[in-house]
């Protein structure tokens, strides 16, 4: 079945691609700020505040630091956003259109690298030593969570019956087994790191290295990076829902799907607001020992369940 090119374009640009995920993402940013404010006994911003912020940034001047590599510095945000939109398109088409146009689970996992990669490259190309520190931390964080995240993905693949097709994975058992549940826990921790929020906001650490890789960004490129981060706030919970929680659902069930999403988002925000920031070596240690051990148990149980035909493992 071939889809016409203009349909791809519509899907990609409007729904479930860019425009739709941008709206959800901005809403998620608002929820984040509002919940955070309530936890801190503040009132919090109005609903449209994230939009105002973006519009303000777009109107501002773009500055170029003297030591930067201009082309890479200005292109990195674009590539990051493009990767995020493509991932949103893929996840959205699985959940809303019951079809996966561009790729399978492995493609998705690798597409989710692109936003982090863009931040690393952008930070590195700005010629600022503080950005470089942030970039190196972001890369180390990727190394840290990649190991358990890959194991969780393998667990999902085994539980779903050795399929990589995302539509089959949505229909699979997800977290409804011991191994699936453990893998869900592991993935939630990794998502916290992938979003680079507390306790893993080590690369951006505002109070320490002033948003690290973003320190030299201003105006439109910064707005693009902020948009990308808003999109990630939509994509990553959706990734968890797709792999473990049976997707957003169809028809009226979608209300339940929205509830799942908001719940996941609030969990992320709560963890973020009740924890201190780790040092990078602590984070690497944590992921490579405790989280990986948990993920190994999950994958091992899934393999055992598969070999001996025990479905609840």
């Amino acid at each position: 079945m071939a889809t016409d090119w203009y349909m791809y374009l519509l899907y990609f640009l409007i729904f479930p691609g860019f425009i739709f995920s941008l709206l959800v993402g901005l809403l998620a940013v608002w929820i984040d700020r509002k919940v955070t404010a309530r936890i801190q006994w503040r009132v919090g911003p109005p609903l449209l505040q994230p939009v105002y912020d973006l519009v303000k940034l777009i109107g501002k001047e773009v500055l170029l630091p003297v030591g930067a590599q201009p082309l890479v510095f200005l292109f990195a945000p674009l590539v990051g956003l493009a990767g995020a939109v493509l991932a949103a398109f893929l996840l959205g088409s699985v959940n809303f259109l019951q079809s996966s146009f561009v790729g399978d689970l492995i493609v998705l996992v690798y597409l989710l690298f692109l936003p982090s990669l863009a931040i690393i490259i952008g930070g590195s190309a700005s010629g600022n030593p503080i950005s470089a520190i942030g970039s190196s931390r972001e890369m180390k964080l990727i190394l840290a969570y990649e190991l358990p995240l890959a194991l969780a993905v393998i667990t999902v693949i085994i539980n779903a019956g050795f399929t990589l097709n995302l539509n089959n994975i949505v229909a699979g058992p997800g977290a409804a087994s011991v191994s699936g549940f453990l893998a869900l826990l592991v993935t939630l921790i990794c998502v916290q790191a992938k979003l680079a929020v507390v306790p893993f906001d080590i690369p951006e650490a505002e109070t320490e290295i002033m948003e690290g890789p973003l320190v030299e960004y201003s105006g439109l490129p910064l707005a693009i990076f902020k948009t990308m981060e808003a999109l990630l706030l939509y994509i990553l919970p959706l990734y968890v829902i797709t792999l473990f929680l049976g997707g957003l659902g169809e028809g009226w069930w979608m209300l339940l799907g929205v509830l799942k999403y908001v719940l996941l988002l609030v969990i992320i925000i709560l963890i973020k607001n009740t924890n201190p920031r780790l040092r990078i070596d602590q984070a690497v240690n944590f992921f490579w020992t405790k989280v990986t051990a948990l993920a190994l148990i999950a994958a091992g149980l899934a393999a055992l369940g598969e070999i001996y035909g025990v479905s609840w493992l």
Partner: protein, 629 residues
């Protein structure tokens, strides 16, 4: 029945060997003649490869030379990489002092490679394989006295592996002999011809079967650069000339080593997916990926780092081949091709950087991106491709290998989880070490440790090859079904079987790439719309309000992964590695030196001692032979 096509295989071997001799004879002043010899040879070989592709399945010399689809594919790309490196060499080597020797060894390498690709007779195969080891040694040695240690190490490791090859082939020969014929010399002679056939599909059981399999696979590993005989690759990568590094450890040796391993897994031996041999190969592959890439992470010299990646990537190919299913094997072979493409691009880019900046030490470089735009863009594309970032070619072949591994998991067992995990994690580590390279060389704070004002982009002979290779990284990533169906699928399954896998539905690279490009173009449009790019204001680097002094405040790429070097268990492993504990060469050279020092005690210089030794030897010799007959 002899037709013209029959001549292609022998000519492909003989022609470069002959023109190589011409290249030595030509006076070294006549630069154009030398280049012309190389060009004519390569063009005729390319035509030959196309001719062979028309009728690939041939047999000559009573089965001594055979070609099939895979052999033609490997030969075609051997010539292709030779051509790309030749362009580069015209920009660097033609003027060099020992250019005659360089081009001669270069052409001889191609001829011997053709011999290895086409011969299925043990003696022929062995001769060409050994000759390749020799040209490898000579080519590395061309870089001058600084490379002599690396050349010697390479010679000893590949030469040692040749000894394995001889032993392995001898065992294979015994296995090939029909049951009873070992008794009589005459019977042995009459069967020797057919027993010399490499493609005999022996089982990997019995003492000889197991030993022969282990020995031959070790030979293939030493050539391709997999553990445990890999240690010559980083040394050669660092010390040899860039062209040599890109052509031999970078591309050709990968093609030949993995090609031989493929033959070992299919034609020379035959074993099922549940055999111990599969676990052995997979373990080697997984270990190669992780250990080599961890070492790459801590290197400080750009080409040495690339050398470790040249080792690490072999792990993916071995894993792919060991799956024994069509999709995994296709992935392994495709990765072999892709790796050769981006690895030679990376080595050549590193050569460009070294040439322009005068050093390959990562600490000294920095901020070259603006000054060398073509090299830096090519290197970025190749670096992303080797890290498996979609939609580039490295992603596709890794993805196929992963799919192959998952398919073996479906058949049962749990070990595949470890192999797959090693492959996926290795990919992240690869990305990390290339971020380090790109940061150190091209992006970071402009270096004050070298004179940046003198640095210019290198000449077109040197940028064209890397641009071509980077372009192929994109093309083979986006339109991956083309190389896969044309060159690789026929080697592992029938085309129908392969098309039935419907890969394009699972990774629609063309649409994904188009959408990515669209998004980036839309972003450029946005920049234009808001006039963001018009006279950008240059501002000083912001370091918290103080004045940025790039001489003192910079963050070199070599410091990127300090946290990981210093982790409790890893730092011990790294310090042991630095002392050479994991290097077979260091271990065995120590061992052989100590044995030699023991025997050197017998060297007293007294004639009677030597005569006594000789007599004792003669007596033992006689006894052995009397006993045998």
């Amino acid at each position: 029945m002899l037709n013209q096509l029959d001549l292609i295989m022998p000519l492909a071997i003989v022609l470069p060997l002959f023109t190589g001799i011409l290249a030595v004879i030509v006076p070294s002043r006549l630069k154009v003649i030398k280049e012309l010899i190389v060009v004519v040879t390569l063009v005729s070989l390319l035509i030959g490869a196309v001719g062979l592709a028309i009728a690939p399945n041939q047999e000559l010399l009573w089965g001594g030379l055979r070609s099939d689809g895979l052999a033609v594919f490997i030969f075609f790309f051997t010539v292709f990489f030779a051509a790309v490196n030749a362009i580069y060499a015209f920009g660097t080597e033609s003027e060099a002092e020992r250019s005659n020797e360089f081009f001669a060894y270069f052409l001889w390498t191609i001829g011997a490679a053709a011999g290895v690709i086409f011969s299925t007779n043990m003696i022929l195969f062995l001769s060409f394989w050994g000759f390749l080891g020799l040209t490898l040694y000579l080519m590395i040695g061309l870089a001058g006295p600084s490379a002599s240690a690396a050349a010697k190490k390479t010679m000893l490791i590949t030469g040692g592996a040749d000894a394995f090859l001889i032993l392995g082939l001898a065992m294979l020969f015994l296995l090939n002999l029909p049951g009873e014929s070992v008794d009589g010399l005459a019977a042995l002679m009459s069967n020797a011809g057919s027993a010399m056939d490499l493609w005999s599909q022996q089982p990997v059981s019995g003492t000889y079967g197991v030993l022969a399999f282990l020995l031959l696979s070790l030979t293939a590993f030493s050539k391709a650069g997999a553990l445990p005989l890999h240690t010559w690759v980083p040394d050669a990568g660092e010390k040899a000339k860039p062209t040599t590094a890109a052509f031999l450890p970078g591309s050709l040796d990968k093609l030949l080593g993995i090609y031989f391993l493929y033959r070992i897994c299919t034609e020379i031996f035959s074993f099922s997916a549940s055999s111990w041999a599969v676990i052995y190969l997979m373990a080697i592959g997984a270990l190669t990926i992780i250990s080599a890439v961890m070492l790459a992470l801590v290197q400080h010299n750009i080409r040495r780092l690339l050398g470790y990646h040249a080792v690490s990537q072999v792990g993916y190919m071995v894993l792919g081949l060991a799956t024994l299913n069509p999709i995994g094997m296709a992935g392994g072979l495709f990765h072999m091709l892709n790796n050769a493409i981006y690895k030679s691009a990376l080595f050549l880019c590193a050569g460009n950087v070294e040439d322009a900046a005068g050093t390959g030490e990562l600490e000294k470089l920095g901020g070259l991106g603006k000054l060398m735009p073509l090299t830096s863009i090519s290197m970025l594309i190749a670096a992303l491709a080797i890290s498996g970032i979609p939609p580039l070619n490295g992603f596709v072949s890794k993805w196929l290998v992963y799919r192959g591994l998952i398919e073996t998991g479906e058949a049962g067992g749990a070990l595949w989880i470890i192999w797959l995990l090693a492959a996926m994690f290795g990919s992240a580590l690869t990305l990390a070490s290339f971020i380090k390279v790109m940061h150190s060389v091209f992006w970071s704070t402009p270096s004050t440790r070298i004179n940046l004002e003198k640095i210019r982009e290198v000449n077109y002979f040197r940028t064209l090859p890397v641009l071509i290779l980077a372009g192929i990284c994109i093309v083979f990533g986006v339109a991956y079904t083309y190389p896969l169906y044309t060159f690789i699928a026929p080697a592992v399954a029938t085309l129908e079987e392969f098309v039935a896998l419907n890969l394009f539905a699972a990774w629609n690279a063309a649409v994904a790439a188009a959408l990515l490009v669209l998004a980036v173009v839309a972003g450029i449009f946005l920049y234009w719309l808001f006039d963001s790019l018009k006279d950008l204001r240059r501002v000083p680097t912001w370091v918290g309000g103080s004045v940025h002094d790039p001489e003192r405040a910079y963050f070199p790429g070599t410091e990127f992964y300090r946290t990981i070097d210093e982790m409790p268990l890893l730092n011990k492993i790294f310090s042991l590695q630095k002392k050479g504990y994991f290097d077979v060469y260091e271990l065995f050279s120590g061992l052989s030196l100590s044995i030699a020092s023991y025997f050197s005690n017998s060297h007293t210089g007294v004639l009677t001692t030597y005569v006594t030794w000789a007599l004792v030897g003669l007596i033992i010799y006689l006894f052995v032979f009397m006993g045998m007959w």
